[in-house]
């Protein structure tokens, strides 16, 4: 970034990551131990299990201005708590399909499964998702006032 005004325009992209402690958080650790280079946009929140994820946490992040939200947990069948990610999978998929209906870009939210040994895959996931978010640009957030809005007539 060359000047302050540029810096303001191109504000730093921030991606919220919800990582389960047992697999993906460990996978991110593995990627670090292997020194796999990754974009720096991700801010990781450590949670015990993707089953701990309430889809509203993702909504909250997006409304607050997160440019992206990445959820990652153990592969299906490998959940430390046996089934947490099975619940999470359904809940997150419903949300992912729902977001665009409300006018959110669903590409800003991604969920994936990465095990503690998959450092390389974690690197790919982070790199790819960061690229996606950079392509989308910063999250403009909600308009606080609405001047004109499209009308919808259903009947």
């Amino acid at each position: 970034m060359s000047s302050k005004s540029d810096a303001k325009q191109e504000r730093e992209i921030k991606i919220v990551g919800f990582l389960c402690n047992w697999c993906s958080y460990g996978g991110a650790d593995t990627a670090g131990v292997c020194r796999f280079r990754q974009p720096t946009d991700l801010r990781i929140i450590r949670i015990p299990c993707t089953g701990r994820i309430d889809p509203l946490m993702i909504v909250k992040s997006l409304i607050q201005g997160a440019d992206g939200v990445l959820v990652s947990g153990c592969h299906p069948n490998d959940c430390h708590y046996a089934v947490g990610n099975f619940y999470a999978r359904r809940r997150m998929e419903v949300l992912k399909r729902f977001l665009p209906y409300m006018g959110f870009q669903s590409d800003r939210f991604r969920y994936t499964w990465v095990s503690a040994s998959e450092g390389q895959i974690w690197q790919q996931v982070v790199t790819d998702f960061s690229e996606t978010i950079h392509r989308l640009g910063p999250n403009p957030g909600l308009h606080q006032t609405v001047d004109s809005a499209p009308a919808v007539s259903w009947f």
């Binding site: 909504v59 419903v94 729902f98 209906y101 870009q105 909600l142 308009h143 809005a149 259903w154």
Partner: protein, 323 residues
């Protein structure tokens, strides 16, 4: 006095000795309204009414206001009048064990649609002059102090009724009146949802912002919802945990409605009460209808149909792939 009301009263008279009370409707404070009514004594029965103004979903009163769970109460059941949409809420409450099926006597009323007071006002600008409204076949007959006018019924009934797929109660112990042909097939696309989806992503955001901007967080939608079982323990009213603040801005309004919608994911039965009671006219139900469509497409599940079914977000299938 119409036939349906008569038939209902006759039926209730016949069985009332076996019931603790009956939840029904009585005429309201003006010709455009009815109100919920608890029939507690034999003499109350003649106040019962059932017509196109019986819009309230009475199952909302079942879950919390009385002991509808314990079948052993005193052996007598609680009677409840349900339209098609209401019956689904009742099933959902049974699914979630807020109501015991053994404890309720379900009086089913096939329904051709309930009136939307807002739309009537568009037809008759001065509602104070209205003396009575009546559905006659496909027509709505409005009597004002200036005379009688007739409108197509479809111009006056609620949005949810125009896309009704379950006009006949899915469970009932007795059915008052003949079954009605559904307006839409069960797997039909929701036309209102499609109308929103026809907008571009940016326009959809603007549309919702414009709608939700009006929200004053009065909680009418929540209070009317039969499946908002938390009621006065609602997450929206506590600051511990602080999911929502008292700030009056778009973020909080959006969050409020996202919480309401996602808490009903896989549970909402599309009774439309939230939308009907909204004092500022936000199409609140429209948000939930989309989630229902997603869940129907993804998991082939509809809430409030099978009393034995487990709501889909409270269970899982390890075999699911592709999601």
């Amino acid at each position: 006095m119409d036939d349906k009301t008569n038939a209902l009263r006759e039926h209730v008279k016949g069985i009332f000795s076996n019931l603790e009370l009956v939840l029904g409707w009585e005429p309201g404070y003006d010709p455009l309204h009815t109100r919920p009514f608890y029939v507690r004594t034999e003499s109350d029965i003649d106040r019962l009414t059932a017509n196109c103004l019986s819009f309230q979903n009475l199952t909302r009163y079942l879950a919390k206001s009385m002991n509808a769970v314990d079948p052993a109460a005193d052996g007598r059941k609680i009677g409840v009048c349900v339209k098609g949409c209401d019956s689904r809420s009742l099933v959902a409450l049974i699914q979630e064990k807020f109501v015991s099926r053994d404890r309720v006597y379900v009086i089913g009323l096939p329904c051709r649609g309930t009136l939307d007071a807002r739309r009537i006002r568009a037809l008759v600008p001065d509602p104070a002059r209205i003396r009575s409204v009546n559905a006659e076949g496909d027509e709505l007959v409005v009597e004002t102090d200036r005379g009688i006018s007739r409108f197509a019924l479809d111009r006056a009934i609620a949005r949810k009724c125009l896309q009704c797929r379950y006009p006949n109660p899915v469970i009932h112990d007795v059915l008052i009146g003949d079954p009605v042909t559904p307006r839409l097939k069960i797997d039909a696309e929701n036309p209102s949802v499609a109308a929103v989806e026809a907008l571009s992503l940016e326009d959809r955001l603007l549309f919702w912002e414009n709608q939700l901007d009006r929200c004053i967080r009065c909680f009418a939608c929540r209070n009317a919802c039969p499946l908002c079982v938390c009621q006065n323990h609602c997450i929206m009213e506590t600051r511990m945990p602080k999911w929502i603040t008292q700030y009056r801005n778009m973020n909080e309004k959006f969050m409020f409605h996202m919480i309401h919608a996602l808490h009903l994911a896989g549970r909402c039965t599309e009774c439309g009460e939230c939308e009907r009671v909204c004092p500022v006219g936000i199409p609140v139900a429209l948000i939930k209808e989309k989630i229902n469509a997603i869940i129907y497409e993804m998991l082939d599940y509809e809430s409030g149909i099978d009393p034995e079914a487990v709501p889909p977000l409270l269970t899982f299938s390890p075999k699911e792939t592709g999601i």
